[in-house]
């Protein structure tokens, strides 16, 4: 199985990772082995039910694997006593459905993850303003999600994912709910963040055009990795 190493340090290492649901009746991951290095842009592709989103959830410690090991920078996530801190400080999530909190403005949504840090109130607000400015939303900071377009919502979500200076971005179909123009803008934004800040980017996508922009593409089928390397495998294309 080929790997593309962007940096020396291994960010994630999965060893025989399995995830089962309904007492083993559904096997979402069937023994995944994987290494992701610092600064990589990894696209995970595959059909619905192939296990790609489940793998992303395991990497983000949103769920526990049924068996196998998952290491983050050499340390087992399962043995970590503080997964919340890991999710708050190390990982930034970007979801397909944005998942902004509807009763909070753009500015407030970006501040939400910062509650798990020691930043004072004023500093949280300043940081959120900076991030929203960075994604081009400085004039929409006081708008509620319902008053923002899909592209704008995703930009708020991106700003939120960077609130605590995450070194890894996990994106689950980030352009799945956007038109092509907004999708292009969002992808440019995410790729620029990855390049400028050397953020490790792991993205689940159906879109082969997006997968082509990744430095490494992992194809999954039935809970297995079926190919792993630079470029989109021809079978998947």
């Amino acid at each position: 199985m080929a790997t593309t190493n962007a940096g020396d340090e291994c960010v994630f290492e999965a060893i025989a990772l399995k995830k089962e649901y309904d007492d083993g009746q559904v096997q979402a991951l069937r023994g995944v082995d994987l290494r992701i290095h610092t600064g990589e842009f990894v696209a995970i592709v595959g059909q619905s039910g192939s296990g790609k989103s489940t793998l992303l959830q395991m990497l983000g410690a949103l769920d526990h694997p049924s068996s196998g090991q998952l290491l983050y920078r050499g340390k087992s996530l399962e043995e970590s006593s503080d997964l919340a801190a890991y999710r708050a400080r190390e990982i930034g999530f970007i979801f397909q459905a944005f998942h902004l909190l509807p009763t909070f403005t753009a500015l407030e949504n970006v501040q939400i993850p910062m509650f798990e840090t020691s930043r004072p109130v004023a500093e949280r607000k300043t940081r959120a303003m900076e991030l929203l400015k960075a994604v081009g939303l400085e004039k929409r900071v006081h708008h509620f999600p319902s008053k923002l377009s899909g592209g704008e919502r995703q930009r708020v979500a991106i700003a939120r994912s960077l609130a605590n200076g995450a070194s890894v971005l996990l994106a689950d179909e980030p352009t799945g709910n956007l038109d092509s123009e907004n999708a292009g803008y969002i992808m440019d934004l995410i790729v620029n963040l990855h390049r400028e800040h050397n953020v490790t980017l792991v993205m689940v996508t159906h879109d082969m055009g997006i997968a082509h922009r990744a430095t490494r593409v992992i194809a999954m089928r039935d809970g297995h990795i079926v190919s792993d390397g630079a470029g989109v495998p021809s079978a998947v294309s």
């Binding site: 959830q57 949103l62 769920d63 919340a84 708050a88 998942h99 009763t103 993850p113 798990e116 949280r124």
Partner: protein
Amino acid sequence: MTFLSIVSRGLMRRPVRTGLTMIGIAIGIAAVVALVGMSRGFQTSWTNGLKTRGTDIVVSNMGSALTPKPFAATQADKIKSLPHVAAICTLMVDLISVEKADMMIVSARQWGGFSWGNLKIVSGRLPKDEKEKAVVLGQTAADVLKKKVGDTLQLETDELQVVGIVDGGAIVENGSVILSLSLYQEITGNDGKINVIDLRMTPGTTKEEAAELTERINSLVPEAKAVSAGDNIRNSQGYRIINAMSWGTSLLAVLVGVLGVMNTMLMTVFERRQEICILLAVGWRRGRVVRMILWESALLGFLGGIGGVVLGVIGVKILITAPAIKGLLEPDLNAVLLAQAVVISVVVGVISGLYPGWRSSRLMPSQALHG
């Protein structure tokens, strides 16, 4: 944005439901304020009445009824010559129906006793002597009975003339029908019976001397018990029962409030499942999520408590104008009781939030990705 603003925003998601829950709590807390306030007010009013009469020690048998049991008037003779006793006044105090008033205090006092001394004549006069078939009415009693000087008053089977309206200086005194002891004994067929001895101590009597005096009275008059004026009503079993019933009814109302808040918070957790999962996904600790739910329910309790206190105070003010109660008591709505009511409400909120909070802490952040 502070944590409190997140909490308050949570409540504002469903303003109607939040409002209705608050009303539910407010009604429960209003019941606490009203019932306990009235019950304590009864005690305060009674005590103030004794103080206004200048009574230091009360000798009576406060059994399970609200009025004391009668005993022989001759018992008073054993007391009046004891050291530190400045004066005594024997009385027969009753709570009876008088004409259209369901419950009225009738205070029959030993003619010439010091308990007549606090009465200031507003109009008319005091009875000429103890045998005159006459009563004086406290201002509130006159108002409730709709009587003025010159009118007649039906007391039991006798018709008595209202010869004066008085200001007794306390709500119980002003709510009383006052007449001479011997006349009332004659009317009720209780010749030679009294149920209260008001005792005034000599000036400068120390606490120890007062305690010694009450002990001596208790040994001399086994039919009754001597207590300081402040403790008199607290020793009444009747009052204790009323007090216990007030708290019991209040706790029932509070329990309904608990269930209301718990239902609301469970609905909140259920409806905001995805939102809670998102908070967990972006790094919120489960403890913070639980705190958020608990703070929301506590805030709900606090606001409901404030509403309940306002509602309770207004309710009591209206209640005491009712003819059945008017003149009998002055509600004791002191700051401590109102603060207690708000604290109870906040505790109710926190307790109600425990289970929903625990439920929220069981959610997995991966559920944020579904739907």
